[in-house]
């Protein structure tokens, strides 16, 4: 008698499984058609770092202190600053990162004294040359503005 019961219980569970899959056929698909549509990235997504733009100044607030450069475990950040005149603040004039070595640890972002760094939502970063991974943050900010 156990076998007959097994057959019915098993058969019922098979039907339940098929009911689950047949309902999926009419559900909307979750695939995003990548080259034509783009995903909205979640706020906690970590792409490479980029400059925040502050509305008061209309630009970044990097003072080229070099904290990020010194904290970076893989030394991928290169920052240089210049003073516009003798008594002014130093401002970043060059800011490069080599994203192909970046481990996205985020030490630069949390340690930035002016909090002008953030993670971007860039995710399609495949390239053909190792130099294509180098990102110029200042130019990126100017282009996005």
């Amino acid at each position: 008698m156990g076998m007959v019961k097994d057959i019915f219980v098993g058969g019922w569970s098979l039907l339940a499984g098929m009911w689950v899959t047949i309902r999926r056929i009419y559900r909307p698909v979750v695939t995003v058609q990548y080259p034509r549509r783009y995903l909205e990235m979640s706020p906690s997504y970590r792409g490479h770092i980029e400059f925040k733009s502050f509305p008061e100044t209309g630009t970044h607030n990097c003072v080229a202190c070099g904290t990020c450069m010194r904290f970076c475990p893989t030394n991928v950040i290169k920052v240089q600053g210049e003073k516009i005149h003798t008594h002014s603040e130093k401002r970043a004039s060059l800011y490069f990162i080599d994203f192909s070595h970046c481990s996205l640890c985020g030490l630069c972002v949390v340690n930035c004294p002016t909090q002008t760094l953030q993670f971007s939502d860039e995710y399609d970063m495949a390239h053909f040359s190792r130099w294509d991974g180098v990102v110029d943050l200042i130019r990126r900010l100017e282009e996005s503005a």
Binding site: M3, L14, G17, M18, R24, V29, T31
Partner: protein
């Protein structure tokens, strides 16, 4: 056109004309069917997994399979060094030819029938057994442990599942009193066999899934264990022939199921007033059955080998035997 046709019939004689035209038709049907079924399988799989599936080539991606076929034709036919060359080349042909023969006796509609042999069903099952031989040839000749294991499993599985398959159709044959496909369809003019022999239909469908080596019974080509099973070493058009044979076998088992259990070309009893030709009903039923087989494939995980064998020998065969005895009694009582 009519004159040319008359010339052809006069030259070949009526019998040979039917065979030649029928074979050309079957060849076309096999190709188109495989193209369609591969696309359908990918679409069904995709939508069950909440994906989209092929959509780039042609409307709804329906031409995707043609593009894949062109790619396969253009590929090199690799013959590995230590294979048994003759058997290796023969296996894809041996798996594909019986498929064509089986289509000869399938009644697509009342008159669309290449040959209405009085042993029609026997022809189908005799020739579809060649499938096992071809798989064993391919697996053995490849000289590869995965191929051989896949072939061995396939033989064990097909030999085991043929028994309940044939037992389940015996009750249909007792009712129709004939192996002729058209007579079997005619015997269902009052009520389809599936309505009063549902267990036989179920056993047939399960065993047919196992016979065609489809999931959840696809252990001969279990990717996670055996790479690709018996056709691991095959490439290009030889691989395509295995693929073509698999999908054509699906069509055959579904067409036989339609003929045996679902009333063949007859319309459903309550839709008899519709002016739909029998061919449409036949194809509709067949493709619905194929859809069910695909649906099962994308729902259930693959069985382990011992589970597979236990299921056949301990459940299917006793059940089919019991069913046969009961229905033999019933049919004797009715007649």
């Amino acid at each position: 056109m009519a004159a040319a046709w008359q010339k052809l019939v006069n030259f070949l004689g009526p019998d040979l004309t039917i065979i030649v035209v029928g074979l050309v038709g079957v060849l076309a049907l096999v190709q188109v069917n495989a193209l369609f079924l591969v696309w359908l399988e990918r679409k069904v799989a995709a939508h069950i997994q909440l994906r989209i599936g092929p959509k780039e080539v042609g409307p709804f991606g329906i031409l995707q399979t043609i593009v894949d076929g062109v790619k396969l034709v253009s590929k090199e036919l690799i013959t590995p060094r230590h294979v048994d060359r003759k058997l290796f080349m023969l296996a894809p042909i041996a798996i594909f030819l019986p498929v064509l023969v089986s289509f000869v006796v399938i009644p697509f509609s009342e008159r669309l029938h290449i040959r209405d042999l009085n042993v029609g069903l026997l022809v189908i099952f005799a020739f579809s057994t060649f499938n096992v031989l071809a798989i064993l040839m391919g697996g053995w000749a490849s000289n590869n442990k995965y191929s051989l294991l896949g072939a061995v499993r396939s033989v064990a599985q097909n030999v085991a599942y043929e028994i309940p398959l044939l037992l389940s159709i015996l009750s249909v044959l007792l009712w129709s009193n004939s192996l002729q496909m058209s007579v079997i369809v005619e015997s269902q003019s009052n009520v389809w066999n599936v309505f009063w022999m549902p267990v036989a239909a179920l056993i047939y469908l399960i065993c047919a899934t196992a016979e065609t080596n489809r999931a959840p019974f696809d252990i001969p080509e279990a990717e996670s264990e055996l790479v690709a099973g018996f056709h691991t070493e095959y490439s290009g058009m030889r691989f395509a022939l295995f693929f073509l044979a698999e999908y054509s076998n699906m069509l055959i088992v579904a067409a036989v199921a339609t003929t045996l259990f679902f009333g063949g070309w007859k319309s459903p009893p309550f839709l008899g007033f519709l002016p739909v030709p029998g061919l449409i009903w036949f194809l509709l039923k067949t493709y619905i059955l194929i859809f069910v087989v695909m649906w099962v494939r994308w729902t259930f995980p693959r069985l382990r080998f011992d589970q597979l064998m236990n299921f056949c020998w301990k459940i299917m065969i006793p059940l089919a035997l019991f069913h046969l005895i009961v229905y033999a009694g019933i049919i004797k009582f009715i007649r």
